[in-house]
Each structure stands twice: as structure tokens, then as C-alpha cells.
Amino acid sequence: MDTDRASYSLEDLSAKTGFEVRVIRSFIEQGLLRGPSSLGRYARYSDWHLVRLLAIKALKDRRGLTYSEIRQTLLCMGETEILALAETVTTGTDSKRSSALDYIRSLNPQTFETQKIDEVSHQADLFFQSQDQKASPESEQGVSSGKQAAYQSERQLPASETWHRFQITPDVELSVRGIQSEKQMARMKNIANRLREFLIGGQNE
């Protein structure tokens, strides 16, 4: 799916996702969705908007998340993951009409491509994992496994030398060196979230 090609009106998006037009507008106001690709009376929306709306639908209908939780969840997901989430809605349950091979071919090639997950969540996972290991009785007992070794090798540099990357939008990234505590990490994630909201909101203005 070419996620940047502008091609839909609000009504088209509504028909494709089942969300009412006013609900889609409210998503834009709440920062769940950025504004249209082209402004004016005949505002157009791209596949990016369609994918994001389908992902919102999956999170709302299947996981029962609130819109605030959905916003937080989407902020922590990479574009590949959001696309995969959207596909869980579009692939539906029409098993009688397609074979396993048709189903696999219907998936977007990007879904299962070898792309790295969102750098923020990966780095955060590594960070919190190492914090957990410090705190857990298991690490006190000196348990050493291949996986733990793998985490350690990812963090072989001292914390003061390690860069953490926070993706703000597909085009903007924040890099921070020397995060040494969970509190500092949480603060940087908060700053990244606010910056993201500021940037996404800016497109509406």
C-alpha cells in the first residue's frame, strides 16, 4: 500500500472504515490522525489515513481501548506494526472465499518484511529489561542465559555513551545520549510524545 498517495474524501474513508465522518473529524482534533493531505473544500486524504483509521478500529473493537489509550499505543508502534494491525481488519474472516495462499498473497508485502521494529520501543525494552534484571531475584542468583547475554551485548557500551533514538514522526527523530535511569527515560518519552503531538497538531492549523 502506498501510504502517501492522496486519494480519499472524508466520505470515502467513512465508507471504508465504518467510522462516521464526524468521528473521523474528532480523531483529527484529538491528535489521533493528522489533517488532510490537501486542504480546502475538497480536502483529500491518503492511504496513510486509511491505514491509521483501520488500526484505530482494531484497537477499539478488539482490545476495547479508550481513544486516549489508542493514541498512546499508536505512538509507540512503528508504521509496519500499524499496517499489520490495520490488515487484521481488512483481511476479515472470508476464509471460505480464499485459499491459504491467496490469503498470504493478500497481505501487504511490508507486513512480514524484515524491517526493524520501532526504535523507541526496542530501546525502551532493552533499557527496562536491564532494569528488571537488576531488580529481580533471578539475576541476583547469577542466572546467565543466551538471551540475557544478547541483551548485554546490545548494551555493552556504558550508559553515558549509549544513544537512545525516539522517532517523533516518519521524518523527525530525537537522539539522546546518557540516559541512566528509568525516570530519565520516562521523561524523554514524555517530551517525545509532546513534540509529536505538537508536530501532528501543527498540520491542522
Binding site: R62, T93, A100, F112, T114, Q115, I117, G146
Partner: protein, 437 residues
Amino acid sequence: MSDDYGISIIAEFDRELIWERGRSVRYLEVDVAAPFVKESEKREKQPLNVALVIDASGSMSGPPLDCAQKAAAGVVNALTPDSKLSLISFSTDVITHLEGVSGDPSQQKRALAAIDELRPRDHTNLGAGWMKGAECLAQIMDKHPGMHNHVILLSDGRANYGVIDPQILGHHAEQLRTRGIATSTVGIGDHYSSEQLQALADHGGGMLHDAQYPHEIIEVVLGELHTLQETMFEDISVNLSFPGSIKIENLSDFPTAMNSSSVITHLGMLAPQRNRPVTFRLTTPEGRSGDALNFEINCSWKRIGETERVQGKNLRRSLKFVNEERNLKQTRKEALSLRVAKCWQSQIVRRCVQLNRKSELNELARYLDYELRYFTRYCHGLNGTAGLVFELQGMRERANRRWGERSLKDMDHSSYMTQQSHQDLRTIERGSWLDSL
């Protein structure tokens, strides 16, 4: 009840009378069983179409990968000439080493050479590896319909590349299961992602195996292959229709779809003489003494290698409203109540594992206190349940700290096996998980 070589289904309540003033809690067990089939009466076995998908991330190097290779070689040697094997390894990239080789001696040699070439690489793109395995099977299915198609995925880690969300993996596993490709998973060591592998196995109609030690990889993979060779039915589902005023909960943790008056539970596959019980907890509304709440239960399945679903006969059961005196005087079915207690305890343990893993220790203590109150009352006077209560009390005493990952895995896995009546293919017997806490 069963048809010729079909599935039999039994449905029973632990007690059949309910208080007219409402809020009675009753348990319904629906037990689905495959028949014993004499060797001379067996239908011709459907050939296997298996994809072995092996994690080749760096952490697999050494004994885990060696044993995975031995397991793969064992699968090659056990293949019948009309069966097919695909071999995929994944790390950051995905490599297809073998695509649909048969158990023919000349091809076996080529397969063993390819297995020998497996080398550890770097990250863990589990989703892409699994999907490539499914794609290999799907291509063979198109050319050779009527096979038994199954992905067996082995991993020691947490996917950190590509699709990593258990819900997304589960969704695709379910879609492929309904199209004839099932998935089982083998978690290796102490640091595999239970959530990701459990989602693939649960929704894929297979089973998650735990291989704590490298040699257990061989045991569970070859055991799984043997089970697949024996399996007669797949994609089994139980449909329970109930009055909308009832509150209902599935204690067995099978994948479930529910609306206001029916619940469909997917039980996966069954080999001869194996059974899958599913236990429901029902909370009843008020009613008039003498009236009844009616339930309808049916089961459907596919025979291995066939695409049409077979529909079993309908069963009807009911709960009858009575006054307080009759309700209190009724006796319960002891053996069924003991099975319910085991299933319930397993559900509690698995929930506690989730909470402990997330370090939600206050919530864990609160949840255990709440459940223990009702569980102890249910077990009062029921033979065989003292140990179950003792384990939960022991867990409560240790609820104020994080448990080790191996303890969490042992608790989760043994409870999962109890809940869904799965067979442990490992030869080393495990003691009570409470000792390791």
C-alpha cells in the same frame, strides 16, 4: 454420543439446580473426545505437509541450535515417502533451506545436508519466518490437496524485528487455521516470549511446548510429529447457545468468540483416544421455581485432509430454578467438580503469572485474595483439592516479590496443560512449581 469414527461430546453441569433468587454459580464441562480406532479399521493416513521454522538468532548458537538440527534430522528420517518437509530459518532475514522435500531416500540425503548448514545469525524476525513457513505449505497445498498441513516453529527469544504484537500474530494464525494450515510452537530455554508463541499456537489450532533443556527440543518436536501423524480431526469448535440473561466465562483459555447468547470455542486438533474438555462458569439470573434455563451444545470439526466441516448432533441441557432449601440440599458431581477445581486453579495461576511478569504485585495480591475466598469455599469438602488450595496459599505468601522467569514459565505451562488437557511430551517429570518460588 458419536458418529462412526466421529467425535463424541459430553456436556455436564456440576449441579443442575439453581436458586430462584439468582446469582447461583454453576460450572458446565463440555468434553470432546476422539474415538479409539482399531489398526485394521483405520482410514488411510493423510500425508503430512510440515514446515519446520527454526530461530537462528545469535542466542540459539551452541546446544539449542545443535538440538534443533537433530530434531529436524529426526523429522526427515520419520517422513513417509508421500510426506513433504519445508525448512526455514529466521533471524533478521529469512532463509528457505528446503521447500517441500519428500521422505524419499534420495531427497532425505539432500535434506540432511541442508539441515547441517544451519548457522546462527543475529536478530529475531519470528513473524516473517513463521509466515514463510506457512507460504511454503500453502504452495504445496495448492498442488497437492488433502494433506495435513502444519507449521512447527522453534524459538528461544522474543521477536524484535517485523511483526511482534501477539494479537496480530494470533489473528493471522487463526486466518491460516481456518484455511487449513495449523501452527504449533516450541519455546526453548527460559527467555522465549510466552505471549507470542502462545498466541500463534492457540489461534493456530496447535500447542505450545516448553523445552527448558536443549535435549527436550528433540523430544517435543518428534513427539509433535508423531501426534500429527496420528491426528484425525482438526479445527474443532464447540458452540454453546445460552439464555441471554446468563453471565458466562470460559475457564479453559481456548480462543473464544462470544456474543450475547452464544459462545464459540476453538479447541484445535485431536488424535485418537485424546480428549479436550472446555469448562464454562455460569452466573444465573432470577427465575420462577420450576422454570428452567435451556442450553444447546454442538460440535463441528474437519477430518484431516478434508475441507468440509462435519457437524455433530445437538445436545440439550438445562438448569432448573428451585427454592433455597432444595438448592442447598442438592449434591454435586464429585469427579466433575474436582476437574472444575483444577481448571479454575490453573486459570488463577496463569493470571497471577501475567501480573507478576508485569510487576503488578499489589494487583496480584488483591486478585489472589479475592479468588482464594471463593476457590476455598468451592473446594470445601471436595476430595483431592487440598493441594490446589495449598499451592494458591503458598503463592499468596510469595506474592510480594518478582518470581524468576523459569518459575513463571513452569507455572504457566503446567497450568496451560491442565486447562486444555494437553499431553506433556517431555520425559523429565516436573514437581510442583511452588517449590521453585
